[in-house]
């Protein structure tokens, strides 16, 4: 808390900033926001005192081991655990039969349903409903749940199959290898493992699918007994023709094969007819696991009728209802503790089903503490994945580089449980990123017996940049247009429109629009920092066996939702407690957005305490901490809360000292009379609020608050002056963040080994609220995108349906030596007009921009036509170059 306080508080806009027509948006200046400071959790982290889920201990704690399914798909016929349970020191078993019935959709606003629509939800969405999916910086990804809105097939006459049942923590029908079947609690993990070795489970083998395209072969097995393709919340069986599969076998994607999802905008035939250049390619992206460094370990016990669970989750407030449902209790019976989360990247948005296991085991053991340590191998199985793509893309361009049409077909490897929908998100984002006047998307979401898909930081957004950006780059090279120029030409600006519609949508239906967009500014600033013009000389420059290339790309993603709550208590000791329902997963947003209240009410930061991470402490309802929505949502909510606090302060002053509230203001000491001196210290104001009661001490709160916020307010009423509010600020459009990424690479053409020499990322993130954290998000997200392009993958043996890449050295997240030693970043700092603070999220847009820039730089170095799949392994380049530029690898095979 060592930031310099500016002597004068700048004017805070009290309503969303709306630049007058023609007026250029200007950077907003704040006392606290926009300045580096030290987050209050950092000393605990750096001294090892910060407690993550597996760091908690309790008297008599026992340990759980899980029995993973050995088969990719099977039915459990019988379980004989008698020998295991007879062992001394073995305390209990939990099977699928011990789990409660399916929970109702969690939360007053069903988190999953609200957040599961693909980015760019088509019009028709009820106005004012929370923004579509988003994922958090450092922990991104939207929750995965049936996504019936966009991308789903249009209604058909045939009877709709029933929705697929949800996923549980333990199962009698494992649908992927490693899915937990039962849990054993014992005095030690070792003993629990020995016990599981003695359990006899009889399985009935069921058919399975690893490579989605193999699941399309006529007569091939389906990944689920209900079918092989997810259609909305249901499944059906779709098989391609023998002719289609002959193309697949020949390494060509069958572009005219059957799709279950179609979305369009404009007229692609017309668009391609207008094109001077058409570029098309088959393409593939791999499935990758999230691999947060902290696995989803959990520790639980029951005390005084309440279930206490230490968990690793991204969004604490949004995890309560989900976990309560999985455990089969009411949210108020649950105490959820997650002060520190070791990364999630979308895989822990509302925690995860497995959290229920230690809780239910503990219940069986009369409340005895139970620790479930999830190993890295287990995390690789149950820790979720980003779905891979196989497909094709075709884009039309005018001579000047203007995009006339985009057509794409994407098969998504969705995992066994639900339609993930990344593919439709990618397509929707393409309409935003490239502003194509005509576009068509066709897709399939195929069930694979591989780890369940979910949102991974920029779900669909990373893939969008990887899918489309290289095509734009190839076109620019063919047309002889500068790479930055072609992106500027096609970039969205202002309140750009975007989105695709289901076929047969009546014409004239309004499209989505963004609340702000400064992509061109990002490109210009990035080109300047990167030295684009000067570096063009490096393009194709050969030194010995090394060739250099430069590339640029953009990334876009949702960057904000609305309608959440804020809560703070000014205590009689003069301290301001700021309560945050969002989790602390490393993005610092739990603290960064709390500072908005201090900023608005002029409370010195030294006087503030941020309360988070434990539902027993009374926390307000929050956004899911995903989809880059936190910063926007909680700067708005805490702006409203800060305004509420300030309003109450001035009202109290007016009551005590006469006049109207408008005649009072606050400064660092407390409430002042405008033009006069200090009237109420912070401490005194708190005392007065307690005396006044009613709305001032939290006894009365607005009805519009979420039930969770109301419960928190009730717990804290009478402790001081309470500021509490729901974000009711208006918003027209959807909030998106944007990035430009610039990269230079060097490729060894003899070995195919390549490295990145330079990376610059420039963000359109609105107001920068914490520069150090923003840099971390731009680079951290960027490197995750680079990992996708460079090395990360998931490998499966198709015969046994077994995961082979269970170790980090197999699935290869990027190391500190896989990136340049120095990276650069900047932000354009133009405020979003729908947020009084002006801030937007950036955790996701950063991912795709870096991935695309690196891919484009590689193609710039070695030529188009070589890279058709990610990750770009050395042999892909080396073999192709040794082979006259013809790729030698299998273009469409997945999970290799």
């Amino acid at each position: 808390m060592a930031e310099q306080q500016k002597p004068v508080a700048p004017a805070i806009p009290v309503a969303p900033t709306k630049p007058a027509p023609g007026e250029a948006p200007k950077k907003l200046e704040f006392r606290l926001l926009g300045h580096n400071y030290t987050t209050p959790d950092l000393v605990a982290k750096v001294t090892g005192k910060a407690k993550y889920a597996e760091d908690f201990r309790a008297e008599g704690m026992v340990f759980i081991k899980l029995m993973p399914s050995p088969r990719p798909h099977a039915r459990v016929i019988s379980i004989d655990a008698s020998a295991a349970l007879a062992m001394p020191g073995v305390h209990g078993i939990l099977t699928a039969k011990d789990l409660p019935a399916p929970p109702p959709p969690p939360g007053p606003v069903p988190a999953a349903a609200a957040a599961a629509r693909p980015a760019g939800t088509p019009p028709g969405t009820p106005a004012g409903s929370p923004a579509p999916q988003a994922a958090a910086p450092g922990g991104g990804g939207a929750p995965a749940a049936p996504a019936p809105a966009a991308g789903a097939a249009p209604p058909v006459a045939a009877p709709t199959p029933p929705p697929m049942p949800p996923e549980f923590a333990l199962t009698d029908e494992p649908v992927y290898e490693g899915e937990p079947i039962l849990a054993i609690a014992a005095d030690s993990e070792e003993l629990a493992a020995e016990a599981i070795d003695r359990i006899v489970v009889e399985f009935e083998a069921l058919p399975f699918v690893i490579d989605p395209l193999e699941g399309m072969r006529p007569g091939s097995p389906d990944g689920r007994t209900q079918g092989n393709v997810f259609v909305g919340p249901s499944m059906k069986t779709v098989k391609w023709t023998a002719a289609d599969m002959a193309m697949v076998d020949a390494g060509k994607f069958p572009v005219n094969a059957e799709a279950t999802e179609t979305l369009t905008y404009g007229d692609i035939e017309k668009g391609f007819a207008e094109a001077d250049l058409i570029v098309e390619r088959d393409s593939q992206q791999q499935t990758t696991s999230h691999q947060p460094l902290e696995s989803r370990s959990a520790m639980a016990y029951w005390q005084n009728g309440k279930c206490h669970i230490n968990v690793s989750t991204q969004s604490l407030a949004r995890t309560v209802a989900a976990v309560a449902g999985w455990v089969g209790i009411k949210p108020e019976e649950l105490v959820l503790i997650s002060e520190y989360t070791g990364g999630g990247f979308g895989s822990k948005i509302p925690g995860s089903q497995s959290i229920a296991i230690p809780a239910l085991m503990s219940k069986k053991l009369n409340g005895r503490p139970v620790m479930m340590r999830i190993s890295r191998a287990e995390e690789t199985y149950i820790g979720r994945v980003r779905p891979g793509y196989q497909g094709w893309v075709k884009m039309g361009f005018k001579k000047d580089g203007r995009i006339t049409a985009v057509d794409t077909f994407i098969v998504e490897a969705s995992g066994p449980y639900r339609r993930q929908g990344d593919h439709a998100t990618s397509a929707n984002l393409a309409t935003l990123q490239f502003q194509a006047p005509n576009m068509r998307f066709r897709g399939l979401s195929v069930a694979t017996n591989t780890p369940p898909g979910t949102s991974q930081r920029a779900p669909g957004g990373l893939q969008s940049s990887v899918w489309f950006e290289p095509v734009v780059a190839e076109a620019a090279r063919k047309l002889g247009i500068d790479q930055v120029a072609i992106r500027r030409l096609n970039a969205p600006e202002g309140t750009a429109q975007f989105g695709l519609n289901p076929p047969n949508t009546p014409p004239g239906r309004p499209r989505n629009k963004v609340t702000s967009c400064f992509v061109k500014e990002c490109l210009d600033k990035g080109a300047e920092i990167f030295g684009w013009e000067a570096r063009k000389a490096n393009s194709g420059k050969r030194t010995g066996s090394k060739v250099r290339g430069i590339g640029v790309a953009t990334g876009a993603y949702t960057a904000g939702s609305i309608g959440v709550d804020g809560l703070c208590v000014l205590r009689p000791d003069g301290k301001l407690e700021i309560h945050q329902g969002i989790g602390n997963l490393g993005t610092h947003s739990v603290v960064d957005t709390a500072r908005v209240i201090a900023e608005i009410a002029n409370v010195p930061w030294e006087n503030c305490e941020v309360v988070w991470g434990n539902t027993a402490k009374g926390l307000p309802w929050s956004s899911i901490q995903a989809g880059s929505q936190t910063t926007y949502a909680h700067t708005r909510a805490n702006y409203a809360t800060g305004m509420d606090l300030k309003k109450k302060l001035t009202e109290i002053a007016a009551k005590d000292f006469g006049g109207t509230p408008e005649q009072y203001d606050t400064n660092a000491q407390g409430v002042i009379r405008k033009g006069g001196g200090l009237r109420l210290t912070w401490a005194k104001a708190a005392e007065r609020a307690i005396a006044l009661g009613g709305i001032y001490d939290g006894t009365e709160v607005p009805k519009e608050l979420n039930a969770m916020t109301k419960a928190a307010a009730a717990a804290h009423k009478g402790r001081g002056l309470m500021g509490v509010a729901r974000d009711n600020l208006p918003r027209d459009g959807q909030t998106y963040g944007f990035m430009s990424g610039f990269a230079e690479v060097e490729v060894d053409v003899e070995t195919g080994v390549w490295r990145i020499l330079e990376y610059v990322g420039v963000a359109d993130v609105g107001t920068v609220i914490h520069p150090n954290s923003l840099g971390g998000q731009i680079h951290g997200g960027g490197i995750q995108g680079i990992g996708h392009v460079r090395s990360q993958k998931l490998v499966y043996d198709p015969h046994y349906g077994a995961g082979l890449s269970t170790r980090l050295h197999h699935n290869k997240p990027p190391t500190i030596l896989d990136i340049p030693h120095t990276l650069k970043w900047a932000a354009v700092e133009l405020p979003d007009p729908t947020n009084p603070i002006g801030a937007k999220g950036i955790g996701e847009p950063s991912v795709g921009a870096a991935a695309g820039a690196v891919l484009n730089a590689l193609a710039d170095a070695i030529g188009d036509g070589i890279i058709r799949r990610t990750p770009v392994q050395p042999e892909h380049i080396m073999e192709a170059l040794a082979n006259g530029g013809k790729p030698a690898y299998e273009p469409l095979t997945a999970f290799i």
Binding site: P70, R71, A205, D797, H799, Y800, A802
Partner: protein
Amino acid sequence: MGNLVSWARSPWGDSVLTHISWDLFWASLIGGLLFLVAHGGYMLFSQHHKRDSSEVDRMEADRKGLPANVLRHGFVARMFHWVMAFSMLTLLLTAFLPIVGVQFAWVQWHWMAGILLTASIMFHIVHATFVLDFWSIWVGPKDIPEFKAEMMREVGIDAPGPKPGKYPLGNRLYHLAVVVAGLSVIVTGILMMWRVRTGLVERNPYMLTDSTWGITYVVHGLMGVGFVGLVIAHIYFALRPEKLWVTKSMIFGTITRRQYLEHHDPDRWVAESKSGSNVG
């Protein structure tokens, strides 16, 4: 000794057979050698009664038309035998030398010898079916009188009843064992050709299920080690002094007229001259 077969967990966690225990190799080897010692000891006291020389003299006088040397194994049959012997020895050596500690890259020699064995056996089946007297080496209920008589002779009694035809009963029982074991190793061995890299078939290691493959390997192993004992016994008999005339016939093709009459029932095995025409 441990278990006679080894089990493993398949990738799906099922218990599947993988191999026989190599202890069984030692068992077979020791068994073969014990038989050798036991039989050798027994032969010291054996009262085996062959045809009286006076009777042989009489028979010889009766059968003046017989050639001096009677063809027992034609050239083709002898070629087959030695090719098979060569391949069998190669198979056994390549299979079992590594187990006794002589390590070398054996697989290629093993499957090549296996192909030779398979080819020779297939030829033999055709040859025996269409050229040789197929049933002369077979064993069946009709052999019971011979068995009884031979047992009596073994204890020194000149029993009536049939004398061996071309092949003595022990010989034929041995052949039967070799047929069973040989066909088993050949069938399982041919399947295994889909497991290893030979260039002859399009490999498909997943042609059978894990458990069927396990059985295949165990059968191959069991029959393979069985051959250790069988081959020891065979070589032993071939080298026994009183059987050397048979061994020589497998080299030179013929036995003397006198050996023919001493050991065989001329009615059950009508002698051939070396030219192959029936005589007598």
